[in-house]
């Protein structure tokens, strides 16, 4: 038959009809459906032997004990260690996802290592030369080198102090709010007055705080309804920035003085303040926790008379004697003269206290200072540094974690590496030590031995949860145990002398400032350190937290700033400006900007800063 169009059509039609009778189409739909189960782009989880490893979380200074479930050696989920004397099995959101940190997008893995080393060595040499009056020293008098440590009390901190000790006028700097030498014992407290401290929102060791929570009455004096305020037994809604005045008022009440001024300044009734004072003395033991903007309120504990009970000296694990000779003293950054630092080394690898960059910049020499940052992400101080050296992150690092503020007894535990660090990262303390010409490669072991030598305290091993007196442990076993995730805990704690405070000062109303009419309150105590990509579940994929650089305003405040919900605006403080997104929220008190911490925001505004919001 000749191939006409009709025949062709017939053939196609017949073929189509026939195909349906073959298995082809049916197999095709099954297989494509199966293919859709594992089509390209869907990762396959690694299979392997399941094991449990222990470590301590070094994401924040709390250092909670961690049980890691590993598959083929790779940690796939983290949880707290139940019954741990310090962290009580607790682990916060950041800790739970800590094992993601090595894979954060934009992580730094390379940097100008040699150059930086040279710079530090030269700067040290210069300082020594200048101090020795050698002619031709590049370093002018009064200009020096310093290390800024955001998490003091670590072995690394001691290494820095020793390194700076080798340099004439070398500085070891901390954020150093006054009386940082205190630790508290929540288990003894029956009444806790928090002057804006985020007691239930990441302060101290979350697990420990929440475990003790049932035993004390929590009074939160705060302007905004923070997480702590909403869960406190009593929430005193004071005027923003009037916490220290309230502390003063309580002191006066205790001394039977007049509280009229304080009442007027804080917006509370006089009776409230006197009752508060009475409660602190009667339903003791009491504890007063100062907030960010009233550190001097520590002294109030002295008046309440609980020093040595709820407040003790900040304990520190023993160190080898020879470390103490010729090591630089601990100097609060605020206490040194402006424009006095030529070369500044910032260790951001262990985030802790945060200092707004503006405050740091003031201490540097005006003409091209040298800033060297140890960081794992470009988001923090790295944005302002001349050299940024990549560091390992938890859980790659081997570092120790000092006792947190809510631990009355000294502790020593290690964040042990669960995964290998990438090539090209540096170990900050060893790096600085090397540049300064001392050897600190073995510092952790030395300190562990020193602790073991004292024979004090107990060693808590997580695998069996048993506490063994150190006296019965050989140094090698001690070290091995620490590296398997274990914790040394001292037995006794030291009394602390209350700091001096002047209780006769006049009741200051929160300083008015026409140009900066608003008060900034940091909504989230999120660390500036990089966090797991999953964290967006808390601010972007839900409204649990305020998203980075979003600021909540009361409708009135927003109106007066001409800002609308979701609108872009600029936040301005004495230290500078940064862009924010406005969230209108009737639950924020008027006159307050509740702003979420983000690198840009905390550059210019420490909590409680005066500020203004200008809509764009």
């Amino acid at each position: 038959m000749q191939n006409t169009r009709r025949n062709a059509l017939k053939f196609i039609g017949g073929a189509a009809a026939g195909a349906v009778l073959t298995p082809v189409p049916w197999r095709l739909i099954t297989d494509t459906a199966l293919w859709s189960e594992n089509w390209p782009g869907i990762p396959r989880p690694l299979q392997g032997e399941v094991s449990t490893r222990y470590t301590n979380c070094s994401v924040c200074p709390a250092g909670c004990a961690v049980r890691a479930r590993c598959v083929g050696g790779q940690p796939v989920s983290l949880a707290g260690v139940a019954g741990h004397p310090l962290s009580r099995g607790g682990l916060c959101a950041f800790g739970v996802a800590g094992h993601h940190l090595p894979y954060c997008p934009g992580r730094l893995t390379a940097g100008p290592v040699e150059a930086a080393a040279g710079v530090i060595a030269r700067a040290a040499a210069n300082c020594n030369a200048a101090a020795a009056g050698t002619p031709g020293a590049v370093c002018n008098p009064g200009e020096t080198i310093g290390v800024l440590d955001l998490r003091p009390g670590r072995t690394a901190s001691w290494t820095y102090r020793r390194a700076m000790g080798t340099v004439k006028g070398g500085l070891y700097l901390t954020a150093g709010e006054p009386f940082s030498g205190a630790a508290v014992d929540l288990s003894k407290a029956r009444t806790v007055l928090s002057l804006g401290a985020p007691v239930l929102d990441g302060w101290g060791t979350p697990g420990n705080v929440l475990a003790a929570r049932a035993n004390f009455r929590l009074i939160q004096a705060e302007a905004i309804e923070s997480r702590t305020a909403s869960l406190a037994d009593l929430w005193l809604r004071i005027r923003p920035g009037s916490a220290s005045t309230l502390a003063l008022g309580i002191a006066k009440a205790l001394k039977k003085g007049s509280v009229a001024g304080a009442a007027e300044a804080t917006g509370l009734a006089e009776a409230q303040i006197t009752d508060l004072a009475a409660e602190l003395t009667q339903h003791g033991p009491a504890l007063v926790l100062p907030g960010y903007d009233c550190p001097e309120a520590w002294a109030l504990n002295g008046l309440v008379g609980e020093f040595g009970v709820t407040v003790v000296a900040r304990p520190e694990a023993p160190v080898p004697e020879h470390w103490n000779k010729n090591c630089a003293p601990v100097t609060p950054l605020a206490s040194i003269a402006d424009g006095s630092i030529r070369t500044l080394i910032i260790d951001e690898s262990a985030p802790g206290d945060h200092i707004p960059w503006g405050a740091i910049r003031r201490k540097l020499v005006a003409d091209n200072p040298v800033v060297i940052a140890f960081a794992s992400s470009p988001a923090g101080y790295a944005r302002h540094s001349l050299f940024t050296l990549p560091t390992a992150v938890y859980p790659e690092t081997l570092e120790d974690i000092p006792a947190a503020i809510d631990s009355p007894r000294a502790a020593f535990r290690l964040a042990v590496p669960l995964v290998a660090a990438p090539a090209g990262v540096v170990n900050p303390p060893e790096f600085v030590a090397k540049a300064a010409g001392i050897d600190a490669t073995n510092a952790l072991r030395e300190r562990a031995d020193a602790i073991c030598k004292t024979g004090r305290g107990v060693l808590i091993t997580y695998t069996d949860g048993r506490a063994k007196p150190v006296a019965q442990v050989a140094p090698d076993d001690f070290w091995r145990a620490l590296n398997a995730g274990a914790c040394w805990l001292d037995t006794e704690s030291r009394r602390a002398a209350p700091p001096h405070a002047d209780w006769t000062a006049p009741d200051a109303r929160p300083a008015e400032n026409a140009r900066l009419p608003l008060v900034a309150v940091l909504a989230e105590t999120a660390p500036a350190a990089p966090a797991s990509p999953l964290m967006t579940k808390l601010d972007r994929e839900s409204n649990l937290r305020l998203g980075p650089s979003r600021a909540a305003l009361h409708p009135e405040t927003a109106r007066s700033c001409g800002a609308a919900d979701g609108g872009r605006a600029v936040l301005e403080t004495a230290l500078g400006k940064c862009p924010i997104t406005v969230v209108v929220d009737a639950s924020v008190p008027p006159g307050v900007v509740q702003v979420a911490a983000s690198p840009e925001v905390i550059d210019i505004c420490g909590a409680g800063a005066r500020c203004r919001v200008a809509s764009l």
Binding site: I29, T32, A33, W35, S36
Partner: protein, 423 residues
């Protein structure tokens, strides 16, 4: 030049003019296919639907067009089962419209699901409790029926008639047309109903949840009725539109009137039952599930007005279509039909969109939703495809048997002149 394809005895515009008419619709179709493609390739993040607004424009579209497409089965039912001979004039057109409505709905559903490759699971592992299973089965079967019913229309084409086999085939098919009409009616009754059940069973959405009669919620029956009522109106509307666009009479005016009258009668029944249902729902069903009727309408912009608007859009056309005087005037007739169609659209809108917009938990937000251009594009594709297929069918398959007579005897047309130009 396509003269030899055009049915004998009717006049059609020139090819050029026809292509000119097709061009914009073709363009719209192309755009629509592009946006649908985006949704298939990149995933449904191309739409503005979200976890709370799980259904959007597309489901609303499906429910509406299927309600309007009901004209197909109902006209067939009236003609072949109830022997309303005068409807033979529009039955072909009704079939084409039905085919396009259902085809469009199915196509959009294919884009709407996240894993189209697994769509057939519903047939392989059906969950008998689910209304959606019922819908899927009935609609796909009925789509087949419509396709078969469409074949004889295609075979009416002058060229194809020259093939003897086709003639025989068509003849045989014609004998079976009653069967198909019956099957179609049965299937349609079911899926129109299950489409209503789709939301009526949502115990978790008290705004849509309805008491059950037998195993079906009341919306099951209300949807059947409203679809049956509005179907004829839509046929009426489209036929009138085609007459306007083609600028020639295609059916006797009384055909349109009788369509209107049927629509009117059914609307009356619907309005009655709907009112009763609404009362039961507000007074009994809602309080039982712990909600307050007031809450439903507390959220702007969906105030109580929407409830009354919906009722009015059924009530007014009902009155018009039931009054012979008004029905006799094309203007009233057509606008009444149009109103009824809007009424059913609003009804489907309320049940789909408003249901999802309303909060269920006491701390929920009221949600607003605007379709993305990709969603709208897909919607337009269905419209364009429908117009294209209808135009082609109209030009080549002679959808209106009476067109020839009306052309031969202008008397009929002129008699019907005042009606057709009655505004």
């Amino acid at each position: 030049m396509d003269r030899r394809f055009i049915p004998a005895g009717v006049s059609r515009c020139s090819t050029a003019k026809f292509l000119l008419w097709l061009a914009p619709w073709a363009a719209m179709l192309a755009f629509g296919l592009y946006s649908a493609g985006l949704c298939l390739v990149k995933g449904l993040n191309q739409t503005h639907m979200n976890n709370r607004f799980a259904f959007g424009l597309w489901i609303f579209l499906d429910l509406t067009v299927i309600a309007l497409g009901a004209g197909a089965f109902f006209t067939g039912f009236l003609l072949y089962i109830l022997k309303r001979k005068e409807l033979r004039a529009v039955v072909n057109s009704a079939v084409v419209i039905g085919l396009m409505c259902y085809g469009g709905a199915m196509a959009v559903l294919g884009v709407d699901v996240g894993q189209p490759l697994r769509a057939w699971f519903t047939f392989w592992y059906p969950n008998v409790h689910s209304m959606l299973t019922e819908v899927t089965f009935c609609i796909s079967c009925y789509l087949g029926v419509l396709a078969i019913e469409y074949v004889p229309i295609v075979l009416k084409n002058r060229k194809l008639r020259q093939v003897p086999h086709f003639l025989v085939f068509e003849h045989e098919l014609h004998k079976l047309v009653y069967v198909f009409a019956g099957v179609g009616t049965f299937l349609s009754f079911f899926h129109q109903g299950s489409l209503g059940g789709l939301y009526g069973v949502l115990r978790g959405r008290p705004f849509a949840f309805r008491e059950e009669l037998g195993i079906w919620p009341t919306t099951f029956f209300l949807f059947i009725l409203s679809a049956a009522a509005v179907g004829p109106s839509f046929i009426l509307l489209t036929t009138w539109l085609v007459q306007k666009i083609a600028r020639k009479p295609l059916v006797r005016p009384q055909v349109l009137r009788s369509l209107g009258r049927i629509s009117g009668l059914l609307l009356a029944a619907y309005v009655l039952l709907k009112a009763a249902d609404t009362v039961v729902w507000l007074r009994r069903t809602t309080p039982r599930s712990g909600f307050l009727p007031a809450q439903y309408y507390a959220w702007k912009p969906f105030g109580v007005w929407i409830l009354f608007a919906e009722m009015a859009l059924f009530l007014v056309p009902m009155v018009i279509l039931l009054l012979p005087k008004l029905r006799a005037r094309a203007g009233w007739l057509v606008s009444a039909a149009a109103m009824a169609c809007c009424g059913v659209a609003v009804n489907r809108f309320v049940l789909t969109i408003q249901t999802l917009a309303l909060p269920t938990l006491s701390f929920d937000r009221f949600l607003d939703y605007l379709p993305s251009w990709q969603e709208t594009g897909t919607f337009l594709a269905v419209l364009a495809a429908a117009v294209l297929v209808y135009s082609l069918s109209f030009r080549y398959f002679g959808l209106f048997p009476e067109e020839r007579e009306l052309r031969r005897e202008p008397a009929l047309a002129s008699e019907s002149e005042p009606v057709l130009a009655g505004k």
